[in-house]
């Protein structure tokens, strides 16, 4: 077990790669009574075409399967895993993103019992056609629930506009039709391919003794048998640089329009420290252009183009990346024009200097330090960083090194009109009028 000391942050991180390939990280937090544990596989909704474990030809599985599999992991021959966690006073949960599936619990007691439950339920798949069919009703209601959420539709509508081929454009839960095709056999195929310990990471943070916990996890894993790991072969259709559609909209029963400008990133291949600097440089640039202290924000707010729902954000993973800027607004045209004008201005002449960088850098450093109070943030973000060969605890030093030139250079990834798309949710009552 290795010990990594981050002096400036006053944190000690313990790490070991087990014989079966599982990466285990442990971060004790003083004063905490809870422990938060995540067990995550590098497998998400975008991993739909791949070579199944032990086979040689690739296959494409139905949309929404990673999320379906996440649901089905909780059901075992002897009942529901939630029951076990409840008995030991733990709150358990799971989530599926574009690139990850995470299983987690938090508990203030029975730490080892709960850790064992987590390790064992994720490593003992049990699927039957009957239980798979039963789950379709539950997930069908989950999909229907999201269908009625205008902000979710807005987000996915924008991504669909940007991407032509890449599966990031497919809703994480799939559709009622796509999940209907899922079989128990599919679930086993995906499980065998993506749930090998060498494709997974466990993070333990909070009230924990690192030596004891590492021994406990190691022993649990040594008792189990795993096949020899094989490299995972995922396959993606080539994706064009520019957006797939420049504009689209959807009518829903909302009070006023909602609109996003989506910007498709050109640079989506970086990993490691380069990716960290690139990603943070774009985030800092967006903060300067669209943040609460920016000229843009002041004008947009005073003129009523934006309200409290206003957001701007940047997402980056290997193979896809995008910025979104938008708000609920009764003046979607004016808002989008102003956002585009602002981007044009920055493109023509970079307006920000050292003082600007220093200000947003301080804000971001404060954000990281604040976030380190949250064990949930630490475990989830650490895992996301690690899956992209980055270290969460290097973020503050990387920020300190950042230069104005970094900002300017990275920002080029989201420059150009061909990268931009507009998606709006419009009130049904306006559709009736037109």
């Amino acid at each position: 077990m290795k010990e990594l000391h981050f002096k400036q942050l006053d944190e000690k991180l313990y790490h070991e790669k087990l014989d079966n390939g599982l990466e285990v990280y442990i971060l004790p937090k003083k004063g905490f009574s809870k422990t938060f544990v995540t067990f995550t596989t590098k497998y998400g909704s975008i991993d739909r075409t791949f070579v199944p474990f032990g086979e040689s030809t690739e296959m494409t599985v139905p949309d929404g399967i990673a999320h379906f599999l996440e649901h089905k992991m909780f059901e075992k021959e002897d009942g529901d895993v939630f029951q076990k966690f409840s008995g030991f006073g733990a709150s358990a949960n799971a989530f599926t993103s574009f690139t990850r599936t995470a299983y987690l619990f938090s508990a203030t007691d029975y730490l080892y019992e709960n850790t064992e439950t987590l390790l064992n339920f994720v490593q003992e798949p049990y699927f039957t056609q009957e239980t798979v069919e039963k789950e379709k009703g539950i997930i069908g209601q989950e999909i229907t629930m999201y269908d009625d959420q205008p902000d979710w539709r807005l987000y996915f509508g924008t991504i669909e506009n940007m991407y032509k081929e890449h599966p990031v454009k497919i809703d994480i839960a799939g559709t009622i039709e796509s999940i209907d095709q899922i079989t128990a056999e599919h679930l086993y195929t995906c499980y065998e391919t993506f749930y090998h310990p060498s494709n997974m990471l466990m993070f333990v943070v909070g009230a924990v003794n690192p030596e004891e916990m590492m021994n406990y996890i190691r022993e649990n894993q040594n008792k189990k048998e795993f096949k020899e790991p094989k490299p995972i072969v995922r396959s993606f259709e080539p994706e064009q640089m520019e957006v797939a559609k420049t504009e689209n909209s959807l009518y829903m029963d909302v009070q006023k329009p909602k609109v996003y400008l989506g910007i498709k990133a050109k640079e989506t291949t970086l990993q490691g420290e380069e990716m960290m600097i690139h990603e943070m440089a774009i985030q800092l640039s967006l903060e300067l252009i669209f943040g609460r202290s920016s000229d843009f924000y002041v004008e947009a707010y005073e003129k009523g183009w934006i309200d409290e729902s206003y957001v701007f954000d940047f997402t980056l993973e290997k193979g896809f990346g995008f910025a979104i800027i938008g708000s609920d607004t009764s003046m979607p045209k004016e808002l989008i024009e102003a956002v585009k004008k602002e981007l044009q201005k920055v493109e023509e002449k970079w307006p920000y200097g050292q003082d600007d960088l220093d200000r947003v850098r301080k804000k971001k450093i404060g954000y990281f330090l604040r976030a380190l109070n949250s064990v949930e943030f630490i475990a989830n973000q650490f895992t996301r960083y690690a899956f992209n060969d980055m270290n969460l605890f290097e973020a503050v030093p990387a920020l300190e090194k950042m230069t104005v030139a970094d900002l300017q250079q990275s920002f080029a990834s989201i420059q150009g009109e061909k990268q931009q798309t507009v998606f709006s949710i419009l009130p049904k009552k306006e559709q009736a009028k037109s």
Binding site: L9, D10, K30, F32, S33, K34, D80, F82, Q83, F85, S86, G87, F88, G89, S91, S106, A107, T108, D109, K136, G137, I138, I139, Q141, T144, M145, D147, D148, Q149, P150, G206, M252, D253, V254, Q255, K256, R292, S293, S294, D295, V298, E302, G304, D307, E308, S309, D328, R359, V360, K362, K363, K364, I365, G366, Y367, L369, R370, N373, S374, V375
Partner: protein, 426 residues
């Protein structure tokens, strides 16, 4: 947990020193009677005080200053509890020991003082353009409820059960009351908040208690409150009857939102409160509950189905998203789960799981500075001093018979169903 002292009549300071967090947290909680008018005024007031002040007369100047203070979080929040409205001024700043520069805490405390005592005013009135814009923002916030079908359905249920009652008054007030606000009426609301509201001030972080106490005393000189109330005495809740027991409404949507309201004599200050917490937990509070296991897992009818106990008002709610055509079956299944509890069909395992979950939840909540403040603030009005161990004991002694009796005190009052069915039949 906290060291509390009275700074003046109706002004209390609660400090907790801990090295658990990398930040220092402040909360100023101003309490006022909850009405549609007061909630509307105070929601707008929160926005206006956060817009600018005498030292930073424009919003970007104020925001840039916060950025420079390592992204110190500062905001005013409008909320309600029972028959009270709260304006809470919150601040969270990074502990200087993690920074290369000092003086941040001093500046944050100065800024808190400025936000409260030196607002951006002219001739005893807030500025017209700011008030107008922030009124619009609050109105938009109220309107946006419509787009969130779960929150909308819940609001409709409570309005139908308790019209013109604190239970259904929103923390942001109403569109009409917000529209009626003037620069002068808002200034009057500000004066009343600063001079009459009861106030609890919280500080949590790695700080010296004595030093912080004297700094707060010097920087925040609030006058004595003449109308300061004593601790909340338990009063029996009076439940009103409703006109209809079932209301169906329609919007253009796919999923059906089933919201059921129940009444119970138990409230937060009632001696049976711990029993109700367990009863609600077994009914629908957790993934091991009867609702989750039977309505979701066994019948596959819903993705979410849960119950929650609103302890201020003695109301209990069940919320579920279901297929629009399955209303009757869902209501029947939910009724059955409560009926089995009322008959005493409650296992030892269900009780143990629920007690374990309640214990875990309470301890977990104390792992954040905000959690510590909120829990202490909620429990401080009870007669006995709050301790985790005391609440553990209260849950441990609850028996199956207690739960059965508590379940029997729960009475269904209104079934509200929001769905898109009406659109289809048109």
């Amino acid at each position: 947990m906290f060291q509390s002292i009275d700074l003046n009549q109706g002004i209390r300071l609660h400090i907790r020193t801990t090295d658990q967090f990398k930040t220092i947290n402040f909360a100023f909680k101003f309490k006022h009677e909850l009405t549609n008018q007061s909630a509307s005024e105070r929601a707008v007031l929160s926005n206006v005080l956060l817009h600018s002040n005498e030292l930073f007369p424009s919003n970007p100047a104020f925001r840039s200053h916060l950025d420079e203070l390592y992204g110190t979080i500062m905001y005013l929040d409008s909320s309600k509890k029972g028959s009270d409205h709260f304006i809470t001024l919150l601040a969270e700043s990074v502990n200087e020991q993690y920074l290369s520069t000092g003086g941040v805490l001093d500046q944050v405390m100065d800024l808190l003082q400025t936000v409260l005592f030196r607002p951006n005013v002219e001739n005893d009135a807030f500025k017209d353009s700011i008030v107008k814009r922030e009124k619009d923002s609050v109105i938009q916030r109220i309107e946006s409820l419509y787009d969130d079908k779960t929150r909308y359905a819940q609001q409709r249920l409570v309005e139908l059960m308790r019209p013109n009652h604190p239970a259904s008054i929103g923390a942001n007030g109403t569109k009409n009351d917000v529209s009626a606000i003037t620069t002068e009426s808002l200034f009057a609301a500000y004066k009343s908040m600063m001079e009459e509201d009861e106030l609890d001030i919280y500080v949590v972080g790695d700080i010296d208690v004595e030093e912080m106490t004297s700094r707060i005393k010097n920087a925040f000189q609030f006058k004595a409150r003449s109308n300061a109330k004593q601790k909340n005495q338990h009063q029996n809740v009076e439940h009103l009857s409703v006109e209809k027991n079932e209301v169906n409404e329609y919007q253009d949507m796919k999923q059906g939102k089933l919201h059921i309201g129940y009444v119970t004599p138990v409230t937060f200050t009632h001696p049976d409160f711990p029993k109700m917490q367990i009863t609600n937990g077994i009914f629908g509070g957790y993934p091991h509950s009867k609702l989750f296991l039977n309505v979701r897992e066994k019948e596959s009818m819903a993705y979410y189905v849960s119950s929650s106990f609103s302890s201020s008002y003695g109301l209990l709610f069940v919320l579920s998203g279901i297929d629009a055509g399955k209303q009757e079956k869902a209501v029947r299944l939910i009724d059955e789960q409560l009926a089995t509890m009322q008959k005493g069909d409650i296992s030892k395992n269900e009780i143990e799981q629920t007690v374990a979950m309640l214990k875990n939840q309470l301890k977990e909540a104390l792992d954040s500075a905000r959690g510590q403040i909120e829990i202490y603030d909620q429990y401080k009005d009870l007669d006995e001093a709050f301790s985790v161990e005391a609440w553990f004991k209260k849950w441990e002694v609850v028996t199956k018979e207690d739960i059965q009796e508590t379940a029997q005190s729960i009475e269904k009052q209104l079934v509200y169903f929001l769905s898109g069915k009406g659109e289809l039949s048109k």
